[in-house]
Point group: C2
Chain length 321, copies 2
């Protein structure tokens, strides 16, 4: 979390003048997002967030992300709403980088979600999948099965410095999914990164979703598997069945799972645990010395993966049928 690019206030004011959002009164660099620079703007009209997209976001993906947020907001999902310039453009350039302005969204993220929060997130995820159903743009998931082996190779033998035998365990797990990844599941726009820091609550009710920069076209149930990993484990890496039940029931209150999705759930949970294990591992091994940002612990996802490997069916996650 950091502001990577500094923009002088007068350049910022000139940029904001191109939007019909009043005159700039204040700017604060905000410490949010690991890969972009974010600024809070206060204008004579309202508060906004300006994002400068740094290297990690591919500029060709921006129309998808921005278009998706506009589409979802139009359908009543509470998420940041992109603002267009007076000429109608939603992506501009500032300080040599692609830049976009979105509305400021209230809400607090929870550090220790309880079952009520999990139920809200399940329901919110299903509403997102519904609202995105008629979104016509597509984006390939760039962190799915074909991308896992290259990530493991990037980590290489150094994986064993993090946990003995990890390099070999990763290759064995990847091979499982390369052989038999579930196909033809109901698909559409998924968030793909709906962790607690990307979900806002006000008084225990979900008040909004943010950070759509991993969103892509993939199986809905894979998104649900990511949420089971992100929301339903305790700090000691044990799975909390009550939270799992709440999350799945919340999801199915809006969009019931198909039989194929139920059958695929354990493998999707394994695969999504593997995906976060791999990306965290590569980040962990590539931290520059003295870096300001502490990387997330990859082994948290090694332990979650071990749980999923022992699961025998979706009922182990709390699915009631």
């Amino acid at each position: 979390m950091a502001v990577y690019t500094e923009v002088p206030d007068d350049e910022m004011a000139a940029f904001v003048a191109r939007y019909g959002i009043g005159e700039l009164l204040a700017v604060k660099g905000i410490a949010e997002g690991v890969s972009n620079s974010n600024f809070l703007l206060h204008t004579t009209k309202a508060f906004y967030i300006l994002t400068l997209y740094e290297e990690r976001v591919d500029a060709v993906d921006l129309p998808f992300f921005i278009g998706l947020m506009e589409h979802l907001a139009d359908r009543g999902l509470i998420c940041p709403q992109p603002v267009r310039t007076l000429e109608g453009s939603a992506v501009g350039r500032l300080a040599g980088r692609p830049a976009a302005i979105v509305t400021f969204l209230d809400g607090l993220s929870v550090r220790r979600p309880n079952a009520m929060h999990c139920g809200e997130v399940g329901r919110g995820l299903a509403l997102l999948h519904q609202a995105g159903a008629d979104f016509t743009m597509q984006r390939v998931n760039s962190l799915s099965v074909p991308d896992w082996r290259p990530l493991a190779e990037q980590a290489g033998a150094a994986a064993d410095t993090v946990s003995p035998g990890l390099a070999q365990r990763l290759l064995a797990e990847i091979a499982v999914h390369e052989r038999s990844w579930p196909q033809d599941l109901p698909s559409g726009v998924i968030h793909a990164d709906l962790f607690p820091n990307n979900v806002f609550f006000i008084k225990n009710r979900l008040s909004g979703l943010i950070d759509f920069y991993f969103a892509c076209t993939d199986a809905f149930a894979y998104d649900l598997a990511i949420c089971l990993n992100a929301w339903c484990f305790e700090a000691d890496s044990s799975f909390n069945l009550t939270k799992g039940q709440a999350l799945l029931a919340g999801y199915e209150s809006v969009r019931p799972l198909t039989g194929a999705e139920v059958d695929a759930l354990p493998q999707l949970c394994r695969g999504s645990a593997l995906r976060f294990l791999l990306t965290r591992l590569v980040d962990w091994l590539n931290v520059p010395p003295g870096a300001f940002v502490k990387p997330l612990d990859p082994l948290e996802y090694d332990r979650k993966l071990a749980f999923h490997q022992r699961v025998t069916g979706a009922s182990d996650y709390g699915l009631k049928r």
Copy 2:
């Protein structure tokens, strides 16, 4: 500029509940201030800034800083206004650190001040000196003449790695001020760090002053000397006489200088250039490898010091008498 301490949103909400400022709706860590952690708060009432005081601010000084901001705001000076808890306390504790909440202040800082901005700052500085006249608390300037030799010793011979001969030049300059620092000048509360990033403008009019964490009791004209250094030099370190004239005239439009202050001004300018040269030098030599924050160039103040050493009187800064 950075957020050093992370505070979970739920802890933040519990802390904010102790103030009569409504319920917390949003929190953003903001990248402001080199020595403290700052957060933007949005509540059901308004926007606020929460500051957690990190090591560099001595907790015993907080009642002075907070009391000063309250005093100045009461007298109509536009600066952040401290908010007290329902029990009447202005300094609390959060995440193991002293913490205070102040009102959110609109305004933009200018990167390249023009003469109009300098005039506004001169006037604003005099209004600050006037508004602080009946503030009863005192705080010794901890970065004045007696503190300069220890700073030079902290840098030691390493100063010469920044500029050949610098270590010797520093000691010679310090000796000058130790022998003959101006005494008995009109004194009171000074800001002591009124750089462009601490002054807000809206449409070229000064709209507020921030960051009172170097404020102390010292000679008013020393504060003016700091501003001449901070506002009236060009990027090539040449002094801009038009800006100096504007700043001094702005100041005197509110509070005319005494004869003793006019006579002392060249030495006060030398001394304040030396003060920033020394602290920047020590910071420069103590940057941890890979640090996120790039230190400010100490040699900028070496060049400014060289200008002041050639000055023969206050008219060289644009003072008209």
